[in-house]
């Protein structure tokens, strides 16, 4: 009995070590390919930068009025843009070559390859989704924050945080779904979280602007204004348009332009 257990364990360990031994060269090939191509990319970017700087590429470009390209360049330098494109092209090439080498190091019917290769590809996709989601969350959060502050909403930060977490939760759910982790649990949790955030935001906005809504309803219900109590059109406009508010309360309004 003991001998059988020892034999089973020995066999199992042998199988794992063999699999690991066959797995490591592929992984090493992937890393080497990425490192070498990254180094080549850095060198190429350096050479390109020096050549273009010597050739006064930026100045020539500015003279030809290609404003769109210049606007998108880092630090408004087309030279830096070209150098970065070259560097990242090499890095991407290294990753592709590495994955290809990793794939080739296994037999076509290998069980590990069948699981690992698609998972590796999915991981790259998930990382891209995560980066895009984070960037979009930050952009939307700032847009909402600035817009809400300029509309003088007291709960601007809360609204902005709500939007940010809404997008981040959506991104996290997409990443997990892409990696096929969690299955139904993730979908359910996402539904609850997303719904919760939307409900919270709706309540916050609804409660925060109830005065505005009630004034609006009053105005609709009773179209006949009484001079002493009913708000003037200027006052209503001021409520709805905060930046016009200081101006409209005076006989002489502010003219910004």
């Amino acid at each position: 009995m003991g001998q059988q257990i020892a034999l089973a364990l020995k066999d199992s360990m042998h199988r794992v070590l063999v699999k690991l031994a066959s797995f490591l060269p592929g992984l090493l090939a992937l890393l080497v390919a990425v490192i070498i191509l990254t180094a080549i990319g850095a060198l190429l970017a350096l050479i390109l930068r020096r050549i273009l700087t010597a050739a006064k590429f930026d100045e020539r470009f500015a003279r030809s009025q290609n404003a769109d390209v210049t606007d998108w360049s880092p630090g408004h330098s087309p030279t830096a843009l070209v150098a970065r494109i070259a560097f990242w092209a090499c890095v991407v090439l290294g990753v592709i070559i590495g994955i290809s080498a990793f794939d080739a190091s296994y037999a076509g019917n290998s069980q590990i390859a069948a699981i690992l290769i698609p998972y590796l590809t999915h991981s790259v996709g998930a990382i891209l989704i995560l980066i895009a989601g984070t960037v979009i969350a930050r952009f939307l959060s700032r847009s909402v924050l600035i817009g809400a502050v300029n509309m003088q909403m007291q709960y601007a930060r809360f609204l902005s945080l709500g939007i940010k977490w809404l997008v981040l939760v959506l991104t996290a759910a997409m990443v997990l779904d892409h990696l096929q982790i969690g299955g139904v649990v993730v979908e359910l949790a996402f539904g609850i979280l997303f719904g919760g955030i939307v409900l919270t935001l709706s309540l916050a906005i609804g409660l925060g602007s109830r005065d505005l809504v009630s004034r609006s309803l009053e105005k609709t219900a009773d179209p006949r204004p009484t001079p002493s109590t009913y708000p003037t059109p200027e006052a209503v406009f001021n409520d709805l348009s905060p930046h016009a508010a200081p101006a409209a309360k005076h006989a002489e309004p502010l003219r910004h332009f």
Partner: protein, 411 residues
Amino acid sequence: MSSTQTVLESAVSDPASSGLLISLSPLHGNALEATLANLAQAFPNQLIDVTTPDPIPPTPASSLRVTTYTPTAPALAGWILTAADYVNTYKRMQNHQSTACLLLGPEAQSLAPDALRALADQVVVGNADLASPRYSLSPRDGLINSAILYPVTRALFGTRPRYPQAIDLAFSLRAANRLAACAQKFTAANQTAAFIWPVAEAAAAGFTIAEVPVGLRALPPPDALDLNSLLAQVAGSFFADLDAKASFWQRSRLAYSPRDAAALTRAMPAQSDDSAMSEQPDVQPMIDSFRLAYINLHEIWSLVLPPNSLLGLKKLSIMPPTAFRMPDSLWARIVYDFVLAYRLRTINRGHLLGALTPLYLAWVASHLLLSSGTSAETLSPDKHIEALAAAFETDKPYLVARWRWPDRFNP
């Protein structure tokens, strides 16, 4: 291009073409008749070509030769002169073989005949390349101009015109050519409603610029309904133009010493002249807006502004409304830092201009309070704006240094 022509010369004693073309923007209702009447009064003994996109009304006999035109480049903004206006005007000048042009914007009927004449004379007689009007506006009007456009243009380009984005201009043929060439870049990209900055353009070209007081003028309301859109539109275009002309304004020298200008401003008596606002403005909503923004936008401002400016804003946020004063040096530094951030794309440009709005409102509140009080420090609006412009001039080396070496300091 010209579709109709009407010559009314019966009242002309000695009609002689002055080479002046008067170009009108679309005018509504009786505005065209009123404008033509003013022009006839302004130029009584000269044969003047006038072009308008509107149907020509029956006018009393005068020396005006009125023609209609169909604009070659569409999309007139209706409240400001756009790239399309400059391109169209230059083409009409070529068609009429004019040597000078008086380009009048919307609501031009509110300009007095003397003002029209004086504006044209600066170019025709005074040989200036560009004549810019100085409107007599209320202290509550043209606040973006007072806060940003005028002081920055004056500091960077060394020019004096009070309205760098005036909607009436007189210019010579070569100035028209320059402005049209600049506008052509936008119209070629189908951006016919883009803004052109004539004073900066003339300064960069080394043209002679004159300023003419024209008195009162009704200004057409901007297209943008809210302040955020308006500020983003105007300041965005202005900052982009500064970026395009950086090689010029980094080299340009002022024609006078900023220190002398500041001393002159200080020497002015501490008020009370007619331009001061007698009525205390309600600035509380603007101050509230700034305070709300200080709580919420501090993180975004800290990406753009240096610690000193943030400290200044902190002090401002806790000031009581009666003592709410934004120092001129602080506002100058804020505007310069936003110009730099616009250039460097420190944050998204839409966000950047949105984050400027509460700061601008704080400046407006401070300006209105400073101009309307009765204390010893009260200044007339004009004097305050002149002092502000001097502060921008004094701080110009900061902008130039950071423009050239932006990485030396990161807030």
